[in-house]
């Protein structure tokens, strides 16, 4: 076991405490964030090898429970678990008892009977991960709840920014678009504050909440930013009659990220899936300024780091646990 642990180094041992969860960015301290990013960095090195699989979480069970559709998040959690040799299953609400009206409490109790080590949860309602955490013995990772939080996305975004700029402290990030409905934005502003970076919200007034960080309704405000972080315009929220903005066309004209609006040295990020031609011009999405693919790559190693961090309690304890098993 010690050889596996050396992959991430002895200084990356998480605090040994009671059962921990990752429900919100506010669950983490600055030390936690630094440790997770360093762990992710060492996993990134391991992913350059021919054999990408590590035996670290062999025999552990990680359940991915997705009540909303997801490509990036569900696939990267599943792959992260597999790369760490854990047993993993991904359950989607369609085709499960959820469709038959089973309550979240009952589903949690049912899945907990398998004694999973981690439940990764994506759910359309804010507070669902807290609810599951109260009803299971497993550790819970929030993979996005309602418009509330998406902490692993924020961590992978920090990881991506640090790789691109070599630092996080003092970076300025303009978060552009539909902040109101974005859990990504909520987690990201907390993460940025934690590492000494600044954020500004830019977008149409009905979609940009006041009082959290500075706000601008003028797209020109992105000129000062190191990173233009573009949020998805959720088309289902922009149906005729919702009136958050008059039309997607008007949105694209005023707030869309076009090549003309991106200056040299700026980098562009997007949590995906992108609506090309709406919030982001295809030429920007495919340009060298874009970090979108780096974000996906970071997603894998950051989620490996999160699972590792929650499930390892230091080399001695791990050896003991393995001995018992």
């Amino acid at each position: 076991m010690t050889t596996d642990l050396r992959v991430v180094g002895g200084d990356l041992v998480p605090p040994q405490s009671e059962r921990r969860h990752l429900l919100s960015m506010t669950d983490l301290t600055r030390d936690d964030v630094d440790r997770l990013l360093a762990t992710a960095q060492s996993f990134a090195l391991s992913q350059e090898r021919e054999n990408k699989k590590l035996p670290t979480l062999r025999g552990r069970l990680i359940l991915n429970v997705f009540y909303e559709s997801s490509t990036r998040t569900s696939s990267s959690f599943e792959l992260a678990a597999k790369r760490l040799s854990a047993d993993t299953m991904t359950l989607k609400s369609s085709g499960s008892s959820v469709e038959k009206g089973e309550s979240l409490k009952d589903t949690t109790q049912t899945l907990s009977a398998y004694e999973p080590d981690v439940i990764v949860l994506r759910h359309p309602e804010a507070g669902a991960p807290e609810f599951v955490a109260r009803n299971t013995e497993a550790r819970v990772v929030n993979a996005g709840d309602g418009k509330h939080q998406h902490p692993t996305q924020a961590l992978l975004d920090l990881f991506t920014m640090r790789q691109a700029f070599g630092r996080l402290d003092g970076l300025h990030v303009a978060i552009v678009g539909d902040v109101l409905h974005s859990r990504v934005a909520r987690s990201l502003v907390q993460a940025l504050e934690m590492v000494g970076a600044d954020a500004t919200f830019v977008g149409p007034p009905p979609l940009v909440p006041e009082g959290i960080v500075p706000v601008s309704h003028d797209i020109a405000a992105i000129a000062d930013a190191d990173v233009i972080y573009v949020l998805r315009m959720q088309k289902e929220r922009m149906l005729a009659g919702a009136n958050f903005v008059p039309s997607l066309r008007e949105y694209a004209a005023r707030w869309g990220i076009t090549p003309e609006r991106v200056r040299d040295g700026q980098r562009v990020m997007h949590p995906g899936p992108m609506n090309r031609g709406v919030e982001i011009d295809a030429r920007v999405a495919d340009s060298d300024a874009s970090l979108v693919v780096d974000q996906v790559r970071a997603g894998l190693v950051v989620r490996m780091a999160v699972l590792y961090d929650l499930l390892t309690a230091g080399p001695v304890a791990v050896e003991t646990a393995v001995g018992v098993a």
């Binding site: 979240l104 409490k105 309602e125 804010a126 507070g127 418009k147 509330h148 909440p209 009082g211």
Partner: protein, 431 residues
């Protein structure tokens, strides 16, 4: 108008601090109740074979009146019944409560009112007044037969849970009030402003990503309804106010002589939206908890009498409905068994509200708004009395609640002061 058993109990309460701020009584006295009526106040009264209640160290006050209770009957007797809800009321020190008509079915026919009154006579621990709906099925489209409903014993009219969205219909309802003489109580909410709202539209909801329910969603309707009350010359009662702007509209209307009254709930007087950060479904109410500025405005309005009544909006919900993620949960929390203690702990003890004012706003104030006989401690008055141990400290436990539901925002919290006995309509309803 209230339906409940008349009691003829013989009781002597010895040596309590007798405190009735409206009657101007504040002295250590014995109180003798003969056949359910207060017969004598004095020192060292004869027991005459009556039940003797030792009151030394306790405070005897006029019992409370709650204008806003959901008894969930008919339709959701799993959540509350007339029996369980009035047992909770008695344990909270109430001698009279008014029940909301948003049941299944909605109380919109005279026979439904009559049926409920018969059941209350059989099973209620304290008298109950039953509201009828303003519109049929509370659909906001067609007035109920308000005259017939008043004749059947409806205590007033409300579409609580829903606003009367059409101003024209609201005006007609108020005009018709001149015929029935029974007050109209309004739930102030402009639905196009509150759709999708789960918490106050402020910084907390923005940070948590919860749909916002803005203050203007309430105050706009308050403004409309006090204007309609002024226009029709009829009284209007504004239920569960939550926002500073609403209080300001109300105060302005009252200054112009408009007959507008209002109530505030214990939870809006004690909590702010900061509490919602826990994402505990027992902190989800409609209207939502608002900011400290709003809370202070409500407390000020209760203190100066602009808001004349404290009402609980006691709203039982089944565990399977509340034991879900915050956004999936229905609005509403319990209130009857904890109202006085919550307000004593959070407002009286810290010095934000005098005890005498709290007692008035929980008893005489609400009674006056609905023309209910004022609970008072005076010779000749029906015994509507609450005995309180202000020095007691207790922890709210789900298993000890008399309500059939347990969705209290105070679960496992410690409260100061406890009701030890309640007399309602001449009978000992709780001890």
């Amino acid at each position: 108008m209230l339906a409940g058993r008349k009691g003829h109990d013989d009781v002597v309460i010895r040596g309590a601090r007798v405190l009735d701020p409206v009657e101007g009584v504040d002295a250590t006295l014995d109180v003798r109740v003969d056949g359910g009526t207060i017969a004598q106040l004095g020192e060292s009264l004869e027991a005459n074979g009556h039940r003797v209640v030792e009151g030394a160290g306790l405070t005897l006050v006029p019992a409370f009146v709650d204008l806003h209770v959901h008894l969930r009957t008919p339709g959701r007797e799993d959540e509350e019944t007339i029996e369980s809800g009035t047992a909770a009321a008695a344990a909270g020190g109430y001698c009279a409560i008014l029940a909301m008509p948003n049941t299944e079915p909605v109380i919109d026919e005279p026979e439904l009112v009559r049926g409920l009154r018969v059941r209350a006579l059989e099973e209620a621990h304290v008298p109950v007044g039953f509201f009828a709906a303003i519109t049929k099925g509370q659909n906001g489209e067609e007035l109920t037969e308000m005259g017939a409903l008043a004749d059947a014993g409806a205590v007033g009219f409300t579409d609580d849970g829903r606003p009367v969205q059409a101003a024209g219909l609201m005006r007609r309802a108020l005009q018709y009030n001149a015929v029935t003489g029974r007050p109209i109580a309004v739930h102030c909410e402009e639905p196009t402003l509150t759709r999708g709202g789960h918490a106050h539209a402020g910084i907390v909801a923005a940070e948590l990503g919860l749909g916002g329910w803005p203050s203007v969603g309430e105050s706009l309707m308050v403004s409309r309804d006090v204007d309609l009350a002024g226009d029709t010359g009829q009284p209007v009662h504004l239920m569960h106010l939550s926002a500073r702007e609403s209080v300001e509209h109300l105060r302005r209307a009252q200054a112009h002589g408009i007959r507008a009254t209002a109530e505030a709930t214990p939870h809006h007087l004690c909590l702010t939206d900061e509490a919602v950060r826990s994402l505990d479904a027992n902190l989800k109410m409609n209207p939502p908890l608002r900011t400290e500025d709003d809370r202070k405005a409500l407390v000020d309005a209760v203190r100066d009498g602009t808001i004349g009544a404290i009402a609980t909006d006691h709203a039982p919900h089944a565990p399977e409905e509340k034991d879900v993620p915050f956004e999936a949960a229905p609005f509403g929390v319990l209130g009857l068994e904890t109202a006085f203690a919550a307000l004593y702990t959070n407002l009286v003890e810290p010095g934000a509200l005098p005890l005498q004012t709290l007692l008035e706003r929980m008893s005489t104030g609400p009674a006056a708004i609905f023309g209910i006989e004022r609970p008072r401690i005076a010779v000749g008055a029906t015994a509507n009395l609450t005995l309180i141990d202000l020095s007691a400290s207790w922890r709210v436990k789900a298993e000890n609640l008399r309500s059939r539901s347990t969705n209290s925002w105070l679960l496992d919290k410690r409260l100061q002061s406890r009701v030890t006995m309640t007399m309602a309509n001449g009978r000992v309803a709780f001890s």
